[in-house]
Symmetry: C2
Subunit: 108 residues, 2 copies
């Protein structure tokens, strides 16, 4: 056995957050929320899926603490709860860019 329980648990906690980030619609939503808070109907329009689907995506993001919501009349507005997503997105982008570089080398 390579690890103790505590460490294992820590990686599971991290993975729960990473899993919440692992869907195109959820990444789109987080990106959109960088600009300004948005209600479910706006995000539904943006994502282009069923309203219930988007609502569930938002619940997933909320459960791991990536977004928070506030009620305003009949509407529910969501907003980013962390400013750290920059680092995350940059990392992903750099991987994708590197991949493209490698592909281009293959072609040459």
């Amino acid at each position: 056995m390579g690890m103790n329980i505590k460490k294992r648990f820590h990686y599971e906690a991290r993975a729960r957050v990473a899993k919440a980030l692992a869907h195109p619609s959820r990444l789109l939503i987080l990106d959109a929320l960088k600009e300004k808070d948005q209600c479910v109907c706006e995000l539904t329009e943006l994502v282009g899926a069923d309203q219930s689907t988007v609502s569930k995506h938002l619940a997933i993001l909320k459960n791991v603490g990536l977004v928070e919501d506030r009620k305003e009349g009949a509407m529910v507005y969501y907003r980013n709860r962390c400013r750290c997503l920059e680092g995350f997105f940059e990392c992903i982008e750099s991987v994708l860019k590197e991949n493209i570089k490698v592909q281009q080398k293959m072609v040459l």
Copy 2:
């Protein structure tokens, strides 16, 4: 419809990378590879799962370009292909820390 095809495709590409990051064993592996390159048998020992399982995790990481491998005799060594994981891990950590803060407030 809220988006064009190109943007949608971009978010799918990002999500593929994020998905590869969304498993505790794979996060553990990436963390371990920060120190030094390691062969499959070392990583298998570390993760504590079947060798075939670890091999598949490594294939997933490799497919999205997060790691690369080199053969050395009978062994295959893996290593991180991007240095950017810092940013990613920091982001995750900051979310987790914020969650704990909120939980503590609830208790008080």
